[in-house]
Every structure is written in structure tokens, then in C-alpha cells.
């Protein structure tokens, strides 16, 4: 019975032309052949479909060319980044501020604002990916600017929330003492619980 049915399945999809004849003539088809046909037609027909036109070698060859370009552009970008920094932020006036997150995992950082000498110099709204990156140990350079030597008032503020949705904000002051060389300050958001995060500053 099964053998006959399989032959019929084969018959209906592979009959070369219209015939009134019954399925008897196809009874010679083996069961395995019919199902192999089904399997191959259902599952892997698509895999081999375009292989005739676009070969693996072509894909590989083009991929190598893409990698070469990536290498070239990365080298160029690296040089250009250094040139840009030298041009825009000379080391004798450079002040860079970094944000890190070391607090409770239940805390979600929404936004950050930085004031230098009573002037807003940076504002940032955080995406989920950015917060995750900070949580894993990444550090965000939120601001780079030029300042003369001496003391400068820094005010850092953040808005965040707990996982339950309770929103709150904190603000802290710090004095950035700029000397002759470049100045780096880390602004760290830290705290024991998600609802009690605060800001600490670290001179580097």
C-alpha cells in the first residue's frame, strides 16, 4: 500500500504528459527513491539553486578583496584619528572626561549631562547597548575639549531608574585642576543599590 502511494506521489508531480493510465506503470519505483525525491525537493533544492551562477570561489575571492579594503581604511582611520586629535586637542590644553558604570545591575542609566565652568559641554542619552557596554566594563569618552591651566568647575549629573521604574537623578561637583599636560577625569557611577547610585570622580 505504502509503495503504491509513494509511486502515485511520484506520478502526480513527475508525469511527463497527460495520460489516462492508472498508477500501475509506476509501481516499479522503489519506496526509498520516492521519498528521496521528496526530501531532496523539499529540503535542499534551494541550497544548490544559485550555486551554478555564484560560486564559492567567487564569494571567497570577493571577500578577500573586501578584507583588503577594510585593512586599508582602518589604517587610514587610525592615522586620521591621531592627526585629528593633534590638530583639535593639543596635549597641553586637552581635557577628556570619561564615564564608567560600576553600580548595581538593577540600575539603568538614561542620560548624562556635563558642565564645565558653568557651561553645558556634553549631554548624552543612552541606548540599551551602550548601557550594557558600560556595565561590562567599557568606558565612554563623553567629552574632549581644550582648557587652559588652572582650576575648572566640573558638574556631572545623571538621570537613571531602577528596574521597577523609579526614576531619580544625582548631581556632583568636582574641581578639575588642569596642568601643563593632558588631563583625564573618570566619572564613575557607583552605589550599593539600584535606587542609591552616586557619582565619584577619579583623576588619571
Amino acid at each position: 500500500m505504502l509503495k503504491n502511494t509513494l509511486s502515485k506521489v511520484h506520478h502526480i508531480f513527475n508525469r511527463p504528459s497527460y495520460r489516462r493510465s492508472s498508477t500501475r506503470s509506476y509501481s516499479r519505483f522503489r519506496v526509498g527513491s520516492a521519498f528521496r525525491f521528496l526530501l531532496l525537493s523539499l529540503t535542499f533544492f534551494s541550497i544548490t539553486a544559485y550555486a551554478a551562477e555564484v560560486t564559492k570561489e567567487q564569494i571567497k575571492g570577493l571577500d578577500e578583496q573586501v578584507q583588503d579594503i577594510k585593512k586599508d581604511v582602518l589604517e587610514l582611520t587610525s592615522e586620521l584619528t591621531r592627526l585629528e586629535e593633534k590638530l583639535l586637542f593639543p596635549s597641553n590644553t586637552q581635557v577628556s572626561l570619561f564615564v564608567s558604570l560600576a553600580g548595581d545591575e538593577g540600575f539603568i542609566l538614561d542620560s548624562m549631562q556635563i558642565k564645565m565652568d558653568n557651561k553645558v559641554v556634553a549631554q548624552h542619552l543612552y541606548t540599551f547597548k551602550e548601557v550594557e557596554a558600560l556595565r561590562k566594563g567599557g568606558v565612554q569618552r563623553i567629552y574632549t575639549g581644550n582648557y587652559k591651566t588652572g582650576d575648572h568647575a566640573l558638574v556631572a549629573s545623571f538621570i537613571g531608574r531602577t528596574k521597577s521604574g523609579t526614576e531619580y537623578q544625582r548631581s556632583e561637583n568636582f574641581t578639575v585642576t588642569k596642568a601643563v599636560g593632558p588631563k583625564f577625569v573618570e566619572i564613575q557611577i557607583t552605589g550599593k543599590s539600584a535606587s542609591d547610585q552616586t557619582l565619584t570622580f577619579k583623576d588619571w
Binding site: 529540503t43 534551494s46 578577500e64 579594503i69 581604511v73 584619528t81 585629528e84
Partner: protein, 704 residues
């Protein structure tokens, strides 16, 4: 054989889903700029992370006192990260070199081991299982010993192996063993990983396949059967479970075991990614058992689904086939007719799609910004109004080759954006430099002139200070009180000395009283200078210290001025040539990128149009078969109707003949003939009508 082929491919595809491990986790930060690199790396912004890392490393290697750069505390990690991020950015060639460099001497064992694992992953991604196993053999078993060597104080940074390190190694080794045909070894490794929660499902799947390939089919099928029953909420695992059940079902179909095949088909979820194929297969199992009515249950469900799917298109043909088998030829004919409409519509739509690809809309859709934010962008592409093609090539778009080509295309588009931005920035920088030059150049000579005068005075004062300091130092050894006499004392001493000289040269001019007075005055001054000497020396030292503080401030200002003057010059000097060179290189890269991007785009379009063309051909074949099947069903329906009519007429005739012959024989025959004459046309009439209709319909079909 097909099952083996399927399982082998499945093992390969399954292995590709291995989780990406990173050597960048759990890093204690010693350099803020390295932290910034991590910030981008953790967001999968590989280009940003790599360009910054390259810049930091090249800066580190250029400076004379590299140990003063905080990056030196992350150096091993940074070198390793280059390879790791490059690998994630699909720069296999460079990643392999970078990681091999880390495998060199002088690196602690834990970092070496991680580098070896990363290298093995590179090889595995390149479909080189032999080299994968070679790289895995470089891993040593005793990282603890070397990790705490005195020279590496920052052991955490030096590559503390992640908790899953051993598991990752064993799993990768098992997959590479399957690919190299070492199924026994793969089975051994996978069996040891069966309890590993992070790999739950994947280990069982690969184990089942390895067992089957190793000739232990019964055990393999048992493992797969257990996987098919696994309870989980995870979407990925649910899909894997469905896939396993589907594979098992087709395996048993291949073995002509319809009962078991049905069992596995029934396990596949109705709303999962494999449901269409399962419904189709379940129908075929019923057909195989001669239960056409039961086959219609899953097939009717499938019949209602999206007509672009392969399985649905097949079932559009299979449903009328089942109806025909059940003797409902009229219904079958209607459904074949519907099938032909569907296929004609789909072929038209495919033609539109191919045109759409040729006009570049497909590539534009692929570069849509939404695709970066939306995880299901491939599926949601169906919703785009101007890209009908995306509905047909979802399977193609999910394939590895297409994904790689697509990612390359997107990367190239991103690089193009970077190059354009830099070229625009360079123009701004040049303008900025020119403004600075115009401002600074007239000022600097005036400042320089003033500075020279001040510099001369500063040098003079510093010399004076040095003289005083030397004198005071000598006075500690040989006291010279007269050096510390006040100006009044000095004047008085000069007067006294002058008087003494007069007294010597002209003694008669000075009386005794005056002599005594001069002597007394000389004694008073001598007493004063000598008795206050210690205090005066102390005061002098204190004054020198105060002077030093002032000199220190002066030197700070002096150096600050020097730097500012240097910075002022550097703010516009020395940029012209580098900017010109960089611009030339950017233009060269832009030209090269343009060519490669065009090739990559063409390749993607070719892949898509080939897939659409293949689908089109398939639909055309279906369409032809539907025409013949329609004609057959139509004939059968007509014949059945005709047979029924004839049977009805015969029954009526027999009833007539059964009437008792009460009338005359002639009188009996005439109505009979009349009846026969009437019956024949009646019986032929519909046949003629339908026959005429059929032939015209056939002509229509053939005409199409």
C-alpha cells in the same frame, strides 16, 4: 544516503551557531582609552573599536618611554583583542596573523591558550577542520602555573581563562572531529558535554548525528528522540527541537515507517519555522497509508498559509490530488483551477520582483538603516512596499553565503561613509589651519622679540642666583662676615678705612682722641658684623630658598610659554603634506571600494535573481502539471457524471420494460424507440456541451 547528507549539513549549520566568545571580558581597567575601545567592542561597533585600538597601539610603539603609557599594562590584552575584534569584523586573514603573533614566546600560558582557541575558531570559520584541531592542540593544560609569574602583576588582564574555556575547547574539538570524520572521538567529547547547560540541545543534536555517522544509528536516533522531547522556553532551542523532529520524521519516511514518521511530524509546533514542512510531510504520511481524507486535515491548514512558501505551493497541488483520490473530481478540478490562478499570480509577482532587483531597489532596501536596529529585519523586509522580491528570498537571505555577502556589502557601505566623512573633514581642517596661520603668523615675530629680551634677563638673574648660592656654600666652610655686612656698615667701614689711611700717611694731622675714636668705631662695626654673622647667614639662606620658589614659578611660566609658542606654531605647521598624502590615499581607497562594492552588489543581486528565477521555473512546472491534472479531473468528473446519467437512464429503461405487455406489440415498440431516440440525445447533450467546453478550456490552457 540523503539522511546522512542532511545530517552532515545540519551538523555544519548547527555548529555555526556557536556563541561568540570574546577575550575582552572581565578586564580590570588601567587605561581609560583601552576602556573606550572596550566600550565600542562590547557594542559590536567593530570598526570604531579596531580603528581606536590600532591608533593606540601604533602610538604606544612610537613613543620612547613606552612603559609610561598606561596601555603597556593592557598590552597583551590589546594585542590579543586586535585579532579577536578583527575576527568579529570578518577580517579572517589579518585576525589569524594577529592571533598567531600572540602565540609567540613571552606570553603567559592563559593568554596563549585563549589565542589558540581564537585561532581555532578562525580556522573553523574558514571550513578548515584539520587546522582547527591543530590550533586546539596548541592549548596547554596548566595555565595556573604561569599566570602568577612575578613579571605579570596584572594576572587578570593577562587572560584569566573564562569559566567556559574548557567547554568551548571541547565543543569546538568535537565539531572539528565530526567534520574530519573522527566520529568516535566526537562522540566521546560530546558525551562529556551532555550536562553543559550553556550548550544544551546543540550538544545532543551533534551527538545524535555523530553517533549515526559512527554506525551507532539506534543510539543516535535515541539521543535525537530525547532532544525532540526536550522541555524548554528558549526560542532557539524550540526551533532546534522542531528541526530534530522533522529530521527524524523524514528519516522514518525514508525507511518507509509511516507510523513513526507521523509521530515525529506531530511533535513539530504548528507556529514554528518548520511547521509548513511538517504539515506537508504529515499529509504525505496519511497518503502513504491510503487515508486521503486524513491527509486533507494538515494540508487544508497549510493551504491557507502564505502562498510564497515552497511547502504551501506544493500543497496547493497536493490538496486537489487528495480530493481526486476521494472521488471528488469536481472539487479537485476547481482547486487545480485555483492552483493555476495562484501560480500565474505568483509568476507575475516574481517577474515584478526580478525587475525590481534589476532597478537596484533590493540593494537599497538592504542598506536601510532600520536593518541595524531591527533583529527581525529580514522578516520585516516583506513589509516594504517597493521590494516585493524580499517576500520570496527569505530562505536565501538566511543562508550563510548570502549573510556573509550582505554583511560585506553593509561594511563596504559603512566604509564608504567613513571615507566621505574624512574627505569632508580634511577640507575643514585645511580651512582651520589656514585661519590659524593667518592669525598666528603676524603675532609670533613680535612675541618672539619680547621673549628674547625677557629670556636674556632671566638668564642673567639665574646666573646671579647661582653666584650667591656658591658664595653662601663657601661661607659655610670659611666664614666671611664682611660679605654679609649691611650697606650702612659697608659705608662706615669704607670711611674708617679712609681715615686709617690718612692716619698712616699723615700722622701729624690726627690727634690721639681722633685715633681712639676711629679705633672704637672700627671695633663697634667689627663686633656688629661678626656677632650677627650666624643670624645673617641663616637669613641669607632663607632668602635664597624664597628666591628659589619664585624662580620655580618663573620656570613653570617660562616652560608654559615655550610650549604655547611651540603649540601655536604646531597648530598650523607640518600638516600640509600629511593631509595631502592622506587625501590621496583616501581617494585611492574610495576608488577601490567603489569597484568592490559594485561587484558585491552585483553578486547579491545575482543570488537573489537566481533564486527568484529558480522559483519561477518551479512554478511554471507546477503550472503545466496543474493544467494536465485539471484536464484529467475534468474528464473524470464529466465521465462520472455521464456514467451516472447513463445508469439513471438504464434504470428508467428497465423499469419501462418491466411494465406488463397489456398493449399491442407494435404499440409497445414505437414509444420504446421514441424513448430511446429521446434518451440518446439527452445522454449526449451534456457530453457535447461539456466536451465542447472542455476542449475550449484545454485550448485556453495550452494557449497560456
Amino acid at each position: 544516503m540523503p539522511f546522512r547528507f542532511i545530517t552532515f549539513l545540519s551538523a555544519l549549520l548547527c555548529s555555526l551557531s556557536s556563541f561568540a566568545a570574546s577575550g575582552l571580558k572581565d578586564v580590570e581597567l588601567r587605561d581609560l582609552y583601552f576602556g573606550e575601545i572596550l566600550y565600542y567592542a562590547y557594542q559590536d561597533l567593530h570598526f570604531d573599536a579596531l580603528s581606536r585600538l590600532d591608533a593606540e597601539l601604533s602610538q604606544y610603539y612610537e613613543i620612547d618611554e613606552a612603559h609610561l603609557d598606561p596601555l603597556h599594562m593592557h598590552l597583551g590584552q590589546a594585542e590579543f583583542s586586535v585579532g579577536d575584534i578583527e575576527l568579529q569584523y570578518r577580517m579572517n586573514q589579518r585576525a589569524g596573523k594577529a592571533i598567531q603573533a600572540v602565540l609567540g614566546e613571552g606570553i603567559d600560558m592563559a593568554t596563549r591558550n585563549q589565542a589558540a582557541l581564537a585561532l581555532a575558531r578562525v580556522f573553523y570559520k574558514k571550513n578548515d577542520p584539520q587546522s582547527t584541531l591543530y590550533a586546539l592542540d596548541l592549548i596547554r593544560d596548566e595555565p595556573e602555573k604561569s599566570r602568577y609569574e612575578a613579571k605579570y602583576t596584572f594576572d587578570v588582564l593577562r587572560g584569566k581563562p573564562p569559566e567556559t574555556f574548557d567547554t568551548d575547547v571541547a565543543y569546538l574539538r568535537a565539531k572539528a572531529s565530526i567534520d574530519t570524520g573522527q566520529f568516535g572521538k566526537a562522540v566521546e567529547l560530546l558525551q562529556s558535554l551532555q550536562k553543559e547547560k550553556t550548550l544544551q540541545g546543540y550538544v545532543q543534536y551533534n551527538l545524535g548525528i555523530a553517533l549515526i555517522q559512527n554506525g551507532r544509528e539506534a543510539e543516535g536516533l535515541k539521543v535525537l528522540d530525547q532532544l525532540g522531547l526536550m522541555e524548554t522556553d528558549d526560542n532557539g532551542l524550540l526551533a532546534l527541537k522542531d528541526k530534530t523532529n522533522l529530521k527524524l520524521a523524514y528519516h522514518y519516511l525514508d525507511e518507509a515507517d509511516a507510523k513513526r514518521a507521523l509521530k515525529y511530524f506531530e511533535r513539530v509546533r504548528l507556529d514554528g519555522p518548520y511547521s509548513n514542512r511538517a504539515l506537508l510531510g504529515a499529509g504525505w504520511v496519511s497518503v502513504a497509508r491510503g487515508r486521503y481524507d486524513r491527509a486533507l486535515v494538515p494540508w487544508s491548514m497549510l493551504h491557507e498559509r502564505a502562498e510564497t512558501n515552497h511547502s504551501v505551493q506544493e500543497v496547493i497541488m497536493a490538496v486537489p490530488y487528495a480530493y481526486a483520490k476521494l472521488g471528488a473530481h469536481g472539487k479537485a478540478a476547481n482547486l487545480y483551477n485555483h492552483a493555476m490562478d495562484v501560480f500565474a499570480r505568483e509568476i507575475g509577482s516574481l517577474d515584478e520582483s526580478i525587475k525590481s532587483i534589476r532597478t537596484g531597489k533590493f540593494l537599497a532596501a538592504l542598506l536601510d538603516e532600520q536593518s541595524d536596529k531591527d533583529k527581525n529585519w529580514v522578516v520585516n523586509l516583506r513589509e516594504l512596499p517597493d521590494t516585493p522580491e524580499t517576500r520570496y528570498i527569505l530562505e536565501l537571505m538566511a543562508s550563510h553565503d548570502f549573510q556573509e555577502s550582505y554583511k560585506n556589502y553593509k561594511d563596504l557601505a559603512e566604509l564608504r561613509h567613513h571615507i566621505d566623512k574624512w574627505l569632508a573633514d580634511l577640507r575643514v581642517y585645511e580651512e582651520m589651519i589656514e585661519i590659524r596661520r593667518n592669525y598666528q603668523e603676524p603675532l609670533l615675530p613680535v612675541v618672539e622679540e619680547k621673549f628674547k629680551k625677557l629670556d636674556a634677563r632671566i638668564k642673567l638673574r639665574l646666573e646671579q642666583r647661582e653666584n650667591i648660592a656658591t658664595r653662601l656654600k663657601n661661607m659655610l666652610i670659611s666664614p666671611r662676615p664682611e660679605y654679609l655686612a649691611t650697606s650702612a656698615e659697608r659705608q662706615a667701614m669704607d670711611v674708617i678705612n679712609a681715615l686709617k689711611e690718612i692716619m698712616v700717611t699723615n700722622p701729624a694731622a690726627v690727634d690721639e682722641k681722633t685715633r681712639q675714636r676711629v679705633k672704637r668705631l672700627n671695633g663697634v662695626i667689627h663686633w656688629q658684623v661678626h656677632s650677627e654673622y650666624d643670624q645673617r647667614l641663616t637669613d641669607a639662606y632663607n632668602n635664597l630658598i624664597s628666591l628659589d620658589e619664585i624662580i620655580k614659578d618663573m620656570k613653570i611660566r617660562y616652560h608654559s610659554f615655550i610650549r604655547t609658542r611651540q603649540a601655536a606654531t604646531q597648530s598650523y605647521e607640518g600638516y600640509t603634506i600629511p593631509i595631502r598624502q592622506l587625501r590621496t590615499r583616501l581617494f585611492a581607497a574610495q576608488r577601490k571600494l567603489k569597484g568592490v562594492m559594485a561587484k558585491q552588489g552585483r553578486m547579491i543581486e545575482t543570488m537573489a535573481s537566481n533564486e527568484l528565477d529558480r522559483r519561477r521555473k518551479r512554478l511554471e512546472e507546477y503550472q503545466i502539471k496543474a493544467r494536465f491534472a485539471l484536464a484529467e479531473s475534468y474528464d473524470r468528473a464529466t465521465k462520472a457524471q455521464l456514467d451516472a446519467e447513463i445508469a439513471k437512464q438504464q434504470q428508467a429503461l428497465e423499469a419501462e420494460q418491466a411494465v406488463p405487455a397489456a398493449t399491442e406489440e407494435i404499440a409497445e415498440e414505437e414509444p420504446k424507440q421514441e424513448l430511446e431516440e429521446q434518451v440518446e440525445p439527452e445522454a449526449d447533450e451534456p457530453d457535447q456541451e461539456e466536451g465542447g467546453g472542455r476542449s475550449s478550456f484545454k485550448q485556453q490552457l495550452l494557449g497560456q
